[in-house]
Symmetry: D4
Subunit: 165 residues, 8 copies
C-alpha cells in the first residue's frame, strides 16, 4: 500500500499557508493526515506521533512552524523518516528566524527545508521522495513539470499579444 | 535547602564557553549540575531531566546550544522552572542562528535569553532568580556589583597613569 | 508577603503590547505595578526606581523598549533583581535593533530577553522566577501548561472535523 | 537493485566539506557517484546528468555550491528526483548568500536544503529518502540514532568524571 | 543595424516592475523583446534563447527574478553578451534573497546587478552598454542626465516657493 | 579658552581602537580627557561625568562601546553637549549589534554615530564641531583635507610607477 | 551673527520625514535653509553648495537620503563643517541600505549619523553643535530636556489613572 | 581604435583584489588604465576623470571601494559610460555595507554591480560590454567559456581518478 504523508503545523493560524500542501498532495493521489501539534505546547503528542509514524504507514512528515521553529527538529529527533520543514513568516523578522531555526540543524538530524511559506514545494518534495520507488507517481510529477512549461509558454504568448496590441 | 542550578549543553564542544557559568555559580556557593544533553540526539533524556528538575531540587536550568538551538526550548516545554538560554556561536552565521532559535519562542513557553556566548551572564541571571527570596545570595550579588565598580575605577586610574607618563 | 512585579515601558505607545503582560501576571494573582519610564528621557527616575525596587517589594522587573532599547540594561545596572527585556518592534528594522540592544549585554549585567513583542512570555517568565520558591504559583503554572495542551488538542479536533466534512 | 545517490559540487574546492557526505553514504552501503559540475561553467553537462539521473539508477541528488548557489536549483529543474542542497560558506557573507540562493526556490521546483556546510546531514537525508521503502536501510538509520544516544551519554559520563575529579 | 535588448522575467507577476524598463528602452528608440521565461520551469527555453541571443541581434539581456533568482545566472551561463539582473522583492525577506542570488555569481560568469526592483536602471544600463559605440544614443543619455538636473532644480524651486509662503 | 573633548570607553579593551581618536584630537591641538567608564558597571560615574561635562569645559563627548552599546545613549541622556558614538566590533555579529544600539536612538536624544571602529572619524567630527566657531581649527581641518588629496595623489603616482615597470 | 543650518534631501519625497527637522530647528530660533539636491542627479550643485557652505554662514549641514545614500558623504567631502546624515527608509530593506551607506564612511570623512528616519534628532544634534559656544541655545536645549521629563511623567500619571479606574 | 577600460580603486589597499581585473582585461588585449581615486578624499579628481572618460577613449569604468562605497556612484553621476562596481570586503560587516552602498542606486544612475571582491567578473563584464560590437573580442570570450568547461571536466576526471584509487 502507498505511504501516507503527515502535515503537522505548530498553530492553526498556519492553516492558510499549509492548505496549499494539502491540495497538492491530494492532487497526486497521496493520502494526507493533518494535525495541529506543537513542539512546545504539546511536546509529548509530537514525540509520540513521530516515534510511531513509520509503523503507522507514513513515508514523510511535513512540519510548518514560525518564529523559533522547533517542530520539524523535534519530529526529526524521533523518527528515521525524512522530515520536511516549512519556515512560516510571522509578525517580525520576515521569516528569517523560522528559516534559521529550521535549516541549521546539528549533525545527525537533518530537516529538509523549503522556502519561507513554501508549502506547495514541501508537498512536491514529499511526492518526489515517495516517487523514488513509485513509477506511477513519478509520471505524475513529470506531467506536472510539463504542465508548468505549458503554463509559462501560455503566459509568454499572452504577454506577446498584449505588448503587440 | 538551597535550590540547585542545572547547566545543560548540546555538545561537549560547548564546554569552554560553559565553564564560565560553572565557576560563576560555584563562586556564589550555588550547587551546580552539568550535563551534555541534546534536544535532537537524546531527546528522551532531555525531556525526562526537565520534567523532574523541580522535584529534584533545581531552581533554574541553563541551556547552551548552537545553530538551530532547540535545547532551551525543549527543556522549557517540560518544566515550569525558568529556563535560561545561551546561544552559542558556531562556524557560520556568527551565532545569529542560535540567538533567533533561542529567543523567538512562541507564546506560552519563554526562554530567558542572554548574549551570544554569554555564559557568565547566564550564571548571574540564575543567581539573581534564586536571590529573589534569598537575602544572603542577594548580598553576594550586591558585592559583585560593587567589585565591578572598583574594577572599572582601577582600570581608569591605570589608564590615567599610562596617558600621563 | 508575595513579591510584586514591575513593568516599565519606554513609551506609552508600547502599552498595546505590554497589556498582555499585565493581564497574564494578574491572572496568576501577582501584584503588578506599571510605569512609563525612559532610559533616555527620564534617566534619574529610572535609576531611582531600580535602586529601590528590591526594598519596595519587587521580585522582578520587566522592561519594554524599542529601537536602541537601553531601558532594560539601565534598570539592570542599578539592581540585583532579575530584569526581563521585551524588545519592541518599531517602524524600521522589524525589531532587530531592539533585540540586539536588549540581549547583547556585557559581562556582569544580564538581561533575560524574550521574543520581539513577546510580552506574554515576559510575564510567564517573571511568574516562573517567583514560583521557584512558591509552590502555589508553581501549580498555577502547571495548570496553564495543561490548559495549553487542551487548547492545542481542541484545535486539532476542530481541524479534523473541518477536513473531514 | 538499490538506488544510487549522486553528489555534485560546483567546485573542487568544496571537496573537503563534501567528503563527509561520501563517507556517510558509503557507511550505509549506498552506492555514490561524485562529480564536479557547475550550473554556470558546465550548464549543459549538469542538465544532461540531471535529465538522465532517474533512468541511470539514481534515487536522490545532493548538490553543494557556494555564493549565488544555483546548482541545486538547475539540477531540480531537470528531474523529478528529490534534490538536496548544501549551501557552502565562502569567503564573504558567511554562507547566507548560498543558503538563500538554495532554499528560496520558486513554487514548483523544491530543493531540500540542509544547514550551511551540512554535508553529513545531506547524506543522512538522502539515506532517509531511500529508506522510505527499504526496511534494511531503515534499521541502519535507527542504529545510527541509537549510536548517537550512546555517544552523547558517554560524553556526559566523561564530563561527570572530569568535573568530579 | 542597432542591437536589440531582451527583457526576460521569471514570472508574469514581475510585469508591473519590468514595465519601467520596457518604456525606458523604447524611449531611447531601442528595440525591445520581452518574454516570460523561467530558469526552473522552462530551463530549456531559457538556455536556447540565451545561446542564440547574439546571432539573433541582441546586444544585452535583462533578467528579472525574485527569491532564489537564478534566471540571470543561467542566461549568463549560455551567452557572452552582458546580462543585467534585476532582483525582485517578493513576499518575504524584502528582496535580499533575490539580490544575493543575483549578484554573488562565481568567477567567470558575471551578472551586472542593479538595485532591488530597479528596472529603470537596468534599462539605462543596457542603453549605456549599447552607447559605448553609438554616439547618437550616447547623446540621448546625456540629454536624459540634463533633464534629471532640470527636474531636481524645478523641485527645489517648488520647495522654496512652498516654504516661503 | 578652547573647549576640551572627552573620550569615554566602556572597557579598557577598547583602547587600541580609541587611541586613534586621542592622537587625532591632540594633533589638532585639542585638549583630550580619556576615561574607562561603563553605562552598566559604573552608571553613577557616567551620569555624573556627563551632567557636569559642559561646566567642566567640554565641548563634545566621544563614547566607544561594543555589543549592546548603551554608553553613548546614557551619556547623551544627561547632557546637552553633542555626543559622538563609536560602535566597537566585538567577538560576535561583527559590530552590527553595537551599531544599531548606538545609532537607533529614540526621538529627543541623538547620538552622532560614526562607522564601526571609526575612532579617527569620531575625533575629526568632534574637531569639526568645535571648529564651527573656531577659524583657526577650521583651517587645520582644511589642511588635513588637502593633505588627504596629496596622499591619494602620491599613492596613485606610486601605482603608475609600479604598473609601468 | 548666529550660524544657519542647511537641510538637503536627495528627493522631494523625503519631505514628510524632513519636516520634523525643519520645525525643530525653527523652534530653537535657528535659521534653516532647505534644498532638494542629489549626489547623483545634481552632483555639481551639491559640491558647490557644500564648498561654500561655511562662508555662506552655515554651521552644520543635515543630509537626508535613502537607498545607496551618498548625499551626506559627498557633502562631507567638500566641507569641513560637521555633516549630519539621516538614512531614509525606502521601499526595500527597511532602511538598512541607507544606514550602512551613510554611517560606514572611510577614514578622514565622518558623517554624524542618526537613526533611520530620525529627522528630529538630526535637528537636535545640529542645535547641540551650535550650542557648544552659544549659552542661550544651550539653555533652550536644557529646557527641552526638562520638558521631555515632564511629558513622560505626565504620561505615567495618566497611565496610573487609567489602570486604577 | 578599441575602447580602453579604466579601473579606479578607493584605496591602494584594494590593489590585491583589483589585480585580478587588470590581468583579466590585459589577457583579452584590452588597454587598461588604473588609478587610486577617492569619492571622499579626492572628489574633484574623480569627477573630472569621469566627465572626460568618454572623450578620452574609455568604454567602461570599473570602480572598487569598501565600506560606504560611493566611488562607483559618484563616477556614474558624471558620465554616460557604463560603470561597474566591485564592493570590497573590509574589516567589518563582511562586505554587506559595500554591496548595498554600491548596488542600491537611485533611479537614473545605475551601477552594474558584481559580487563582493569579484574583480575578475568585473573585468569579464567590461569585456562583454566592449564585445557587443566587437566580434573578435566576442570570440575570445567564447574561448574563455570553452576553457572553463575544459577546466571543470578536467577537475572532474581528476576527482574520479582520486576516488577510484
Amino acid at each position: 500500500m502507498s505511504k501516507k504523508v503527515a502535515i503537522l503545523m505548530g498553530s492553526d493560524s498556519d492553516l492558510p499557508i499549509v492548505k496549499g500542501a494539502i491540495h497538492t498532495l491530494q492532487g497526486f493521489g497521496i493520502h494526507v493526515e493533518v494535525h495541529v501539534m506543537s513542539a512546545h505546547r504539546t511536546p509529548q503528542l509530537a514525540c509520540d506521533f513521530s516515534a510511531k509514524a513509520r509503523e503507522n504507514g507514513f513515508g514523510a512528515i511535513i512540519c510548518a512552524a514560525g518564529k523559533a521553529a522547533h517542530l520539524a527538529g523535534i519530529i526529526a529527533a524521533h523518527t528515521t523518516l525524512p522530515v520536511i520543514g516549512i519556515p512560516i513568516k510571522s509578525s517580525t523578522l520576515d521569516g528569517l528566524d523560522a528559516l534559521l531555526a529550521t535549516v541549521q540543524m546539528p549533525k545527525g538530524i537533518p530537516v529538509a527545508t523549503v522556502a519561507i511559506d513554501g508549502a506547495d514545494n514541501a508537498a512536491i518534495l514529499a511526492a518526489q521522495m515517495l516517487a523514488i520507488t513509485d513509477d506511477e507517481l513519478s509520471i505524475k510529477l513529470s506531467d506536472m513539470k510539463k504542465a508548468m512549461v505549458d503554463e509559462v509558454v501560455a503566459k509568454d504568448e499572452k504577454l506577446q499579444a498584449e505588448l503587440n496590441k
